[in-house]
């Protein structure tokens, strides 16, 4: 799958260091699934893995947080600028069963893949707990994606108690009756994922990891899962806790 050039349609500052990027690929992109990601080329600066946040016909949206040089440069590009996409990569993760009750736990920019996940999934009920450090990191998800605003209920958690429930995602989780859910899915910092996997046991608990991704093609091995033969860019980024327990514990320690 060669590179796909894509034109920036708009790039919008949503919250502190957080951007919404919409691009229009110049060529047809293969079918994309929730949790597929693209390697996004920021010309002569970096190539960074970003999850698909939303797709409307031939427009692909990303939500990203400025972390280092690559994301910073990306945030300074203009509509009309060209970037390039490599992908869709990864295996995708979607729920298509009207009987499921899903609990989604998103930490920080871990919210990125959720809108697309919600838009493409079928289930009975979906509750989204979105935790951030402070309210400056928040943006209005339901306004941004009105098409899915009725498809989930949102619980916001802030660590500094500046908005919504006070505490971390984990604190919120402890006050939730997890037995009400048939699927639990967590996306966010490794420490959070690690704690989620410790707290809720079971085959139906999934986490979306964020290892280093350098090639995206299953060749370089930079995205390997510790004590596992799995590669995030091929079999991930969503794994069940069973598959990545060791990896999470090790990654947090180091």
């Amino acid at each position: 799958m060669p590179l796909i050039p894509a034109r920036i349609l708009y790039i919008e500052n949503l919250a502190e260091n957080t951007y919404r990027l919409a691009v229009k690929p110049l060529y047809r992109v293969e079918d994309v699934k929730p949790f597929n990601f693209f390697m996004v080329w920021v010309p002569r600066v970096d190539e960074i893995p970003l999850s698909i946040a939303y797709r409307r016909r031939d427009v692909i949206e990303f939500l990203f947080k400025v972390r280092g040089e690559g994301t910073r440069k990306l945030s300074t590009l203009y509509p009309g600028n060209l970037i390039a996409l490599k992908g869709p990569l990864g295996r995708g993760f979607v729920v298509e069963n009207d009987l499921e009750n899903i609990l989604v736990l998103a930490g920080g920019i871990g919210i990125a893949p959720i809108p697309f996940f919600i838009s493409r999934s079928r289930y009975r009920r979906l509750d989204l707990v979105w935790g951030v450090r402070e309210r400056g990191e928040l943006f209005n998800l339901k306004n941004l994606y009105p098409e899915i605003s009725e498809k989930f209920s949102l619980i916001i958690v802030t660590e500094d108690c500046s908005y919504g429930i006070c505490g971390t995602v984990l604190d919120a989780l402890r006050s939730i009756d997890i037995n009400a859910y048939s699927i639990i899915l967590a996306v966010g910092p490794t420490a959070m994922l690690s704690k989620v996997c410790e707290y809720v046991k079971g085959n139906n608990v999934y986490v979306a990891l964020g290892t280093m991704v350098k090639c995206g093609l299953g060749i370089c091995g930079s995205c390997y899962i510790k004590s596992s033969t799995k590669l995030l860019c091929i079999e991930g980024p969503v794994f069940s806790c069973n598959e990545v327990g060791y990896h999470l514990r090790e990654s947090v320690d180091s």
């Binding site: 060669p2 010309p43 190539e47 960074i48 060209l82 093609l217 060749i219 370089c220 091995g221 390997y224």
Partner: protein
């Protein structure tokens, strides 16, 4: 009818291994490679110290076919070797440690580590086209090839394989490597190339230049194997663009006793290896041969 081959003193149950640089840096990679069904695992090229490699983008699939990469010899350094070897032993699969360096001392340093860790062989990477100081500058000068191979082969007990790349004097370099004690040759590495994104008018790879691999280089690699085999009758591991039994068979007919598959492991690696092995078996039967070793170099009999 047997697919087993002897190469560099190793007995392999079939001729198909992975090429260096496809995974092979960590314990977990070795286990994954073993699950692909290869007859031996080859590690990523290991240098004495850890190397960060280049920043992404480091790799791209080209519209004209094949892959272009400039990983920059990223690897965790020689201390990883023991762990890689012991992991391979768990799967009872021979392991060849690919060794990189900027000079004789560095090659020896890593090779000794491989030797003391009980690796089955070392493959000296004398041919990376994009890691400055570590690659093709070495392999394209037959004298340097001689010195590096000699230094390593007179130090370690395990078999030494020299991996050479496309260059004007590849046959001379091959002869020198053998004179210096190489038990086998791996031919070839990637070919220096580049890709420019025409929409932004900029080179795509961070390193600008990279190595071309995959089907595009296959006919070049077969030619190099043929020329080197013709002049040396050496034990050769053919590498470059192999993706099915026929591309593997061509290498064998040109003179390769075994083959390495790199780029083609990108998609459905288990099936790729399995199909090559199965296809080679049927092919040997079609040619009415008793063993795959009888097919080695057969294209030279006109």
């Amino acid at each position: 009818m047997s697919l087993a081959v002897d190469i560099a003193g190793l007995r392999l149950k079939h001729p198909v291994m992975n090429a260096s640089g496809i995974l092979g840096s960590y314990r977990e990679h070795i286990a994954r490679l073993a699950s692909y069904g290869v007859s031996a695992v080859v590690t990523k090229t290991i240098t004495p110290k850890p190397r960060e490699g280049y920043n992404p983008p480091i790799i791209v699939e080209l519209p004209t076919g094949g892959l272009l990469n400039a990983v920059g010899l990223e690897n965790p350094g020689k201390d990883i070797v023991e762990e890689l070897v012991s992991e391979a032993k768990k799967f009872r699969i021979p392991i060849i440690v690919s060794v990189g360096g900027r000079n004789e001392e560095e090659f020896v340093e890593v090779a000794v580590k491989a030797d003391t860790s009980n690796a089955d062989a070392v493959e000296l990477n004398l041919s990376c086209p994009h890691a400055k100081g570590y690659g093709i500058e070495i392999g394209s000068d037959p004298h340097i090839v001689y010195n590096v191979v000699k230094a390593v082969s007179s130090t370690v007990k395990i078999p030494v394989i020299a991996k050479l790349g496309l260059c004007d004097k590849v046959v001379d370099s091959a002869i020198k490597a053998l004179e210096a004690g190489a038990r086998a040759l791996t031919l070839i590495n990637t070919v220096k190339a580049m890709y420019i994104d025409v929409y932004t008018a900029k080179p795509f790879l961070t390193n600008i230049f990279g190595g071309l691999s995959g089907p595009p280089i296959h006919p070049i690699a077969v030619r190099v194997v043929y020329e080197v085999y013709r002049e040396t009758k050496a034990e050769i591991i053919g590498c470059g663009g192999i993706y099915d039994w026929a591309t593997a068979a061509e290498m064998i007919l040109a003179g390769a006793r075994a083959v390495q598959v790199g780029t083609a492991l990108m998609k459905n690696p288990r099936e790729v290896v399995e199909n090559i092995v199965k296809g080679l078996r049927l092919w040997i039967e079609m040619l009415s041969l008793q063993s795959i070793e009888q097919a080695v170099g057969l294209a030279h009999k006109l």
